[in-house]
């Protein structure tokens, strides 16, 4: 079942949470709503679920308007960030809840409920925990139970609000891969909210980037990552270095880095470069380079992270392979030259000049 939100606006007192947002989720897709906190992504999700009502705009499921329908009638599965399992019920009863509260005419007989719950317990690989209470489970287990509970009523759409936000990094990674595999199995239209760009890019079929109550860009993960619509999206999807830019004969040259000291002045175009798209050389190469000094090296990890400083004291972050690092034999305080392999310039960069990381 497809989801469509049309021209949604919502404010809480003075705070404008959503400004005229239009979103489409095609049937069977797994879509991520990605954005920083306060960007309105959770509000949008709750409006689609019916837990919140929009000030303006409408929601459609499969082309049928559902804006005025109550949560109960929408047939959505909702997974909360903090699981919200019923603490006085066992795992089994938690999952069975949605089936047990159905009106008598629609309620399946007891043995059907049991069969369905057992089937879901197998799906989440927790059948051995059926008689436990939520407080006896780990975070990852709780979230899987919450997911099974939402799936028990065979929802037409699945909405997940920062489903892995409260888990630690390792469990989070495991669980999001599991969610992807699960989605490939059951194909229920799913929309999940996250502030973790890695999670969104890894799991989703499509990513919708939100900021300040607006959608900045939507598209496939590689499209959003490689062709960012604006500086905000580029910045939000990864670390970057910011330079003053000079454009000559269609080529962008980098000038002084722009750091937290507020060098940004009106009218000066800015160049955005990801740390792994900067090269370090002992000798100047070509014309597009700036001199800098090595300040800090961190080689623990898949890439070597080097922090450099320019003569004016601004810092530049570079990431390189271990092979290249060994070739260069970099040491602290070495004088080097930094040159970009790829530079992004955005027309609206002034408006979105990000703070230093």
């Amino acid at each position: 079942m497809s989801i469509e939100a049309r021209n949604i606006a919502k404010r809480f007192g003075d705070f404008v949470a959503l400004k005229d947002v239009t979103l489409q989720v095609p049937a069977g897709e797994l879509v991520a709503l990605l954005g920083p906190s306060g960007s309105g992504k959770t509000t949008l999700l709750r409006i689609i679920a019916g837990l919140e009502f929009p000030d303006a705009g409408s929601v459609f499921f499969d082309g049928v308007e559902t804006t005025d329908r109550s949560v109960q009638d929408r047939g959505v599965g909702f997974v909360f960030q903090h699981y919200s399992l019923f603490r006085h019920m066992t795992v089994f009863e938690n999952i069975a809840f949605g089936l047990r509260v159905k009106p008598r005419r629609e309620r399946p007989p007891e043995e059907r409920i049991r069969a369905r719950v057992n089937e879901l317990l197998k799906l989440i690989q927790l059948d051995w925990l059926a008689t436990r209470y939520p407080l006896q489970l780990s975070g990852g287990q709780r979230q899987r139970v919450a997911l099974a509970r939402a799936l028990a009523v065979e929802p037409k759409v699945l909405l997940l609000d920062e489903p892995f936000g409260a888990l630690d990094a390792k469990v989070r990674q495991e669980l999001r891969r599991w969610l992807r595999r699960l989605h490939d199995e059951i194909h229920v239209t799913s929309l999940f909210v996250t502030h973790d760009q890695e999670e969104a890019l890894e799991v989703a079929d499509r990513v919708v980037v939100m900021n300040e109550g607006r959608i900045e860009q939507e598209g496939a993960p590689d499209e959003v990552y490689h062709q960012p619509a604006n500086a905000f999206v580029y910045h939000f999807l990864g670390n970057l270095n910011l330079f003053h830019a000079r454009v000559k004969d269609g080529k962008t040259y980098i000038g002084e880095p722009v750091n937290g000291r507020g060098h940004v002045s009106g009218g000066v175009p800015l160049a955005y470069v990801r740390p792994h798209l900067l090269d370090i050389d002992r000798q100047p190469t070509g014309e597009n380079h700036i001199p800098a000094w090595v300040k800090h090296i961190n080689s623990a990890g898949p890439l070597v992270k080097v922090e450099l400083e320019t003569s004016r004291g601004d810092s530049i972050h570079v990431e390189m392979s271990h092979e290249r690092y060994q070739e260069l034999l970099l040491k602290k305080d070495d004088a080097v030259f930094v040159s970009p392999r790829d530079v992004k310039v955005f027309g609206d960069s002034q408006a979105h000049a990000p703070a230093t990381q």
Binding site: R87, V101, Q125, S138, R149, V153
Partner: protein, 299 residues
């Protein structure tokens, strides 16, 4: 001494409780003062109630309780407090729900209003109802013309008792419901549960110990209420005398054994309340302190 101790000894965790470092004199003085105070102000009066009640043996004691007027007072007390507790459970849950789960204009005012019965003297609480429903009261004429009696009748007793005991349930539930939040209820409605099903299957089980605690306190206060009830009762023997009022009448009539016999019943109720309250507190604590969660199993 510390200077001569080796570093290991200094670094060792201190397992003994800190209290042990206070001089014995201080400790014992505090314990004795506490004990003497408890004995004088609690145990002695308690013992006196039962001693006086049983002064002339069990036969007289039981006879005092079997008096028709005594039986009527006991029945009336049970009836009044039962109605008051039921009403306050409904009002209390509703008020706590509104305060804990919604934001609305005048919320703080409502919280203050709930506390009024605590801060107003019970006698004044009774007076309010006399001024409203008494013969010369605001609605007195209207009620008299329809032959409805509130003051000097059971409805007045129920009203006064309900008013005085109003805060107990609400006060107990507000923090419990605020701590619970509304996420579980939201989860229930997304799963298709309607308002009543959500309340009875999710909210009620979560607040049951807090609610029970409020009911116990509310009931104890309702049965023991004297001031407000005294004003609206009219002291009609066998009709509008609750146990506390009846005790006063007996005492003023120099029927000490009977007075103390009834008093012993109220005292027993107080003791039972204490036991029930401790049980509920113990249960609540166990519910709030979860067992250590199991570590993440590999999946």
């Amino acid at each position: 001494m510390a200077a001569t101790a080796s570093p290991q000894v200094l670094a060792a965790p201190r397992l003994e409780p800190r209290v042990r470092t206070d001089p014995a004199l201080v400790r014992w003085t505090l314990i004795v003062v506490g004990g003497v105070f408890l004995g004088l102000f609690l145990f002695l009066p308690l013992a006196a109630v039962f001693a006086n009640a049983l002064e002339r043996g069990w036969g007289t004691y039981l006879a005092a309780l079997k008096e028709p007027e005594a039986a009527s007072a006991i029945r009336l007390t049970l009836l009044t407090s039962a109605i008051a507790v039921c009403l306050n459970v409904v009002f209390g849950v509703a008020a706590a729900w509104a305060i804990a789960k919604f934001d609305f204009l005048g919320k703080n005012l409502l919280i203050t209003l709930i506390d009024i019965p605590f801060s107003v003297s019970p006698v004044i609480s009774g007076m309010i109802f006399v001024l409203l429903f008494g013969a010369q009261g605001l609605f007195g004429g209207w009620l008299a013309s329809r032959d409805l009696k509130i003051i000097f009748a059971v409805p007045g007793l129920v009203l006064a008792t309900t008013f005085v005991t109003f805060p107990f349930v609400a006060r107990e539930l507000i923090p419990v419901m605020q701590a619970l939040g509304s996420e579980e209820e939201e989860a229930a409605v997304t799963l298709g549960a309607g308002g009543w099903k959500t309340f009875f299957r999710i909210t009620l089980p979560n607040i049951k110990w807090g609610l029970l605690y409020g009911i116990i306190l509310c009931n104890a206060r309702a049965m023991g209420e004297f001031g407000a009830v005294s004003v609206v009762s009219g002291h009609i023997r066998g009709l509008t005398n609750t146990m506390p009022l009846y005790i006063e009448i007996l005492y003023n009539d120099y029927q000490f054994v009977s007075a103390f016999a009834i008093a012993s019943l109220l005292t027993l109720l107080a003791l039972l309340t204490l036991v029930a309250k401790s049980l509920v507190e113990w249960k609540t604590e166990r519910q709030l302190a979860p067992q250590d969660s199991v570590r993440e199993e590999g999946s």
